[in-house]
């Protein structure tokens, strides 16, 4: 029983990591309808941002979001305006463009770091909290808490604020939103910026957990795609819950079956969920309401 509880805790904490990484990805997908392959690279940039902040300013990685999140927001806005906006109406080209961006960001960081991996430390990162037989690293608890706050905050922002409502309106029907006077292009830009900023936040909070390498973004992005499809495209709640499903599946399969099989099991669950519920757990059937309808 103690063993099971420990694995359960590990799975939930891992779910927090996936949820935090996936929320921004799902927001971008749901609103702009772009599968952003470079989302993992934004996480990677967030990690290196935390490293730079610690090296240059001696800033703890948990304080680095103060600088990194606005920087990633601006980068996201710039990427949308320069790269994706001119490709509107060419959804496949937009996907390829984000893949190109992935390669540019990864190789640029490679060129600067020459492949050397870096680590950042925090006073909190070496602490483990033990509850009976369950060992929980504090750094992972912080990520789980952040994922919860971000998912709740983003959900509230989209529901209760004017910019959030505008984003939802654009996601539901771009043409109608434009007729209502919503600046569609600006909302897309803001959405992409927020998605990138959330990835930057994830990068900062994950930096004490990993030795960072320029390729680390790719490690996050594949499970993150599974999370957003499982949870439901465009659904913040789906990304949050999907993260835990993926985390728990990986932890349980990895421990009780074989770590080498955990991804096979995860994608079996993934396929099963899609067969039973094609729109994902929290997606809307047909996904028209979250922006998957062909729009002009």
């Amino acid at each position: 029983m103690a063993e099971f509880l420990n694995i359960l805790a590990i799975g939930l904490l891992l779910g927090g990591i996936y949820a935090l990484v996936s929320v921004g990805l799902n927001l971008i997908f749901g609103v702009i309808r772009v599968v952003n392959f470079a989302q993992g690279e934004f996480v990677m940039l967030g990690m290196y941002g935390a490293f730079a902040a610690q090296t240059a300013l001696r800033l703890d990685p948990y304080l680095a979001p103060v600088l990194v999140v606005p920087a990633l927001f601006l980068l996201g806005c710039a990427v949308y305006w320069v790269l994706l906006r001119p490709l509107q109406g060419e959804p496949m080209m937009q996907v390829f463009a984000t893949f190109g961006l992935l390669m540019v960001l990864e190789n640029s960081v490679l060129a600067v770091t020459r492949g050397v991996s870096f680590s950042v430390g925090s006073v909190l990162s070496d602490t483990t909290i033990a509850i009976g037989p369950v060992q929980m690293p504090l750094a992972r608890i912080i990520v789980l808490a952040a994922a919860t706050v971000v998912a709740a905050g983003l959900g509230w922002w989209l529901r209760a604020t004017m910019p959030g409502k505008a984003i939802r309106a654009v996601a539901q029907d771009r043409k109608a939103a434009r007729l209502m006077g919503i600046p569609v292009e600006r909302m897309y830009m803001v959405t992409f910026g927020v998605g990138a900023a959330l990835a930057g936040l994830a990068g900062c909070l994950l930096s004490p957990l990993y030795s960072m390498s320029p390729q680390i973004g790719m490690n996050f992005i594949m499970p993150a795609f599974a999370v957003v499809v499982l949870g439901g495209l465009g659904s913040v709640r789906g990304a949050y819950v999907g993260g835990f499903i993926v985390g728990l599946t990986e932890a349980l399969a990895g421990f009780y079956l074989d770590p080498a099989l955990k991804h096979a099991v995860l994608f079996m669950v993934f396929i099963a969920v899609l067969i039973i519920r094609p729109s994902g757990l929290f997606g809307v059937a047909g996904a028209e309401e979250v922006g998957l309808r062909e729009q002009s």
Binding site: I10, Y18, Y210, M218, P259
Partner: protein, 408 residues
Amino acid sequence: MKLTRRQFGGVVAGAAMMAGTRGSFAQGGPIKIGAINPYSGAMAQYGDEVTRCYELAADWVNGQGGVLGRQIQIVRGNATSAQEGIAAIEQLVGRDKVDILAGTYVTAISNAASESALNYGKLYWETNALARDLTDRGLPNFVRSGPSSNEFASRAVEGALKIVAAKLGKQPKDLKAWVEHEDSAYGTSIATEQQRLLKEAGVGFGVGSHSARAIDVTDSILRAKNAAPDIWISTAYVVDTNLLLRAARDQGFKPAAMMLCGVGDTKETLEALGKEYLEGIFVVSYPRPDVSEKYGPGAGAFLKLYRDKLGRDPIAPQGMNAFVGMKMLFEAVKAAGGVDYEKVVKAAAAMDKPLGTYETGYGAKFDAKMQNTRALPVVAQWQGGLVKAVFPTEAAAEGVAVVNLPRA
């Protein structure tokens, strides 16, 4: 302009004469060695280090009059993948007219590049790539001067038996090991050989594998923890090694001994885990300049050469292994009287130098597949933030002994 048949014949004859002149000039010119390594991308740091030490060996031998009266010139060929390895060979042979090819930090690149070198009739002198398969192919132009993955595996098991079991006062049959590895060919090949050797020694063991790209490896650590081994032996890359050690620390997994194979001995791991946690962790590694002069005569001189030229200490243990490999190549070329690959391979096959001949403690005796059987890694240990050789005992510098075993 229109050429007559006679004019065309004259141009061809002239070109042939010039080519002949160039060929005879090349005989008196430098011996060019094409160094295939990754100089960009994720593996650039170590690719650079390996070639820097080739260049150091070239400087050293040139200072002594060169080889066969000719200077040695290292020409770099960048390859970050197998495909680029083939392209680099074409460029080095076609454009740079190299006489010999050498490498490589990465097995996949070595595999493709050495086959391509054979197409051009060139020797491929391997110093650093590890996979046993490279020599098992029996490629006629291929020689490996450094240890293979099998030597890393056998040194790890030797360390488990002669250091850990001995210190714990256990017979091999009472020792419990856990063999953890990343699941690509690199980790799997070393782990498979470790399992064979452990079984042969009568040691009980469990096995775990993980993806080097995994976001979380706590499940792997908990499986190992459940098995309660005396020694945990891991073969992985830098990033997942650091992740495994972090998970072990977080989960309170503290076997009597932890041993890392091939990586985990650089600043990257030190920065990730800190010297207090690493204290006492073993690393199976290429011999470093800290080995005793008795074990590796000239190791101190190598360090001085390196510091004089580069103004700092070596960044990775691969360097001295590359330096020694290049020295062996010079000796083989000298004995062969030229750079023809068949003659150099034959000369290398005739080498018979005892262990303790070179800076790394290596000797030179090649088996039928041209694997140097006297190139052996050492077992080192993290001590006070530094990695120090502790096994074989004669490799340990004066005053260095095994510490923190069992791990506190």
